[in-house]
Amino acid sequence: MMETLKDKACIVGIGETEFSKNSGRSEMRLALEAITAACEDAGISPKEIDGIVRFSVDSNQIDELARNLGLDNVRFFPEVFFGGGAGCGIVQMAAMAVALGKAKYVACFRALNERSGFRYGQMGGVMPMQGHFQYSIPFGLIAPGAMVAVMGRRHMHLYGTKTADFGEVAVAFRKHANMNSKAMMHEKALTLEDHANARMISDPLRLFDFCQESDGAVALIVTSAERAKALKQKPVYLMAAEQGTGSWMEMMTSYQRENIADLEEYTRLAPHLWKEAGIGPEDIDCAQLYDAFTPLIIMQLESFGFCKRGEGGPFVRDGALQIGGRLPTNTSGGCLSEAYIHGLNQISEGVRQIRGDSLAQVPDCKHVLVTAGSGIPTGAMILH
């Protein structure tokens, strides 16, 4: 009995709506558009879906999705909590289900009117202060970006990381967005000077250290490796998938852990991920890393072993994350410059890179690392 998920499941279809500041339609409509587009991409009928995995925070429930799609026997319908941290976890759930024969075609999706509806950046003013945010928001630490700024400032203090390093991250992803006609920032150039001169929001983070706020949806179809061979697209195999947490875990403010500049939730899942895949960071051709805020990229590079702890700043310098650099990252623009679809848009870009049809294609791209949300219980996977 092989106790591994390696190469047992594939992503065979991807579907996306447009990404905008105001979709003008319901989150249910967005989800259905993305799911049916993913089915068409895969070459299956939506009626063949017998599993759906959702983000717990998504407003669309399984029963209503099934009614709309006309599905009369959905056999598998778990969900994963923790906002953007669910991104890779939902695919892992789907992969395990198809590998064990619990479903044939599983739809994974995220649909949100995050800009025109509920904006996470504004949550501080409206949430009831009963959970753990009562220990941060009442003191003026209100938005997720400010919570990450506290971690970024500590990283600068411990390791000498510079705000210009954050700028390198923002500029690299913007360059990729400039190549991607779907990206919300497609037509807007960004230089290191623009980054350094931008409005300060949460010191040390300036305007371009923050992700987009977006309306839109992305869906994926997952099936078994065997079924995938008969379908329309080149199968994209799940080489490894993991979920993880760190010490003193709490959403966005895990400040009790020894090193708050260490995204332990990635650090601890990474060895399991590399072991399942049978490869290491040196084998990754392209990365799609969750980038709600720029410091999170620098910390992730350290957690996954692309560089030593504390050396993420130097690593990203001189365009290392750009096409042609040593680790092309977020090649569709990421959350920073393409759209904030809770990282699902980064999974679909990872699929395109393996298929070979990205608008910012990495030559001979064999292995892609994808991560889910940072500073929360999260996940990661390797596609090939």
Binding site: F139, R153, R199, Q256
Partner: protein
């Protein structure tokens, strides 16, 4: 108190002692009766030794700035910019997110700080920290 009240926590059974302490200008944290370690924020079990036994122990109110941010964009009208948020590491070990009562240009990681109290509503007083006097 400002005209627009700050966001106030809603105390519950798990943390009533913490807020009652702040109202009396005392910083009380959970301390394990079995292994003696402090923890924050209030939770049922000691994560070090898994004991349910704890007391509410008074802290010195002294610590150092472990990290910080200065909020320049107003996110809520009761928090004018620039607004200093400190992450304070207490002498007892746990860290608190708190309001920094110093000008933004004086904030430094490692600076010694001491507790103050800010009354937010009739029911709620919160901690804040200023630079420690030598």
């Amino acid at each position: 108190m400002s005209e627009i009240p700050r966001v106030a926590p809603i105390p519950g059974p798990i943390n009533q002692e913490f807020y009652d302490g702040l109202n009396r200008h005392e910083l009380l944290l959970q301390k394990c009766r079995d292994c003696g370690k402090f923890r924050f924020w209030p939770i049922e079990m000691c994560p070090f030794c898994n004991s349910f036994n704890h007391e509410w122990a008074r802290c010195s109110g002294k610590g150092t700035a472990h990290s910080y941010t200065v909020q320049h964009q107003v996110m809520h009208p009761a928090y004018p910019a620039p607004w200093v948020v400190l992450l304070v590491e207490l002498e007892e070990g746990p860290r608190l997110v708190t309001h920094g009562l110093m000008p933004p240009e004086e904030v430094e990681i490692g600076m010694p700080v001491e507790i103050e109290y800010e009354k937010i509503t009739d029911e709620i007083t919160l901690h804040a920290f200023r630079k420690a006097e030598k």
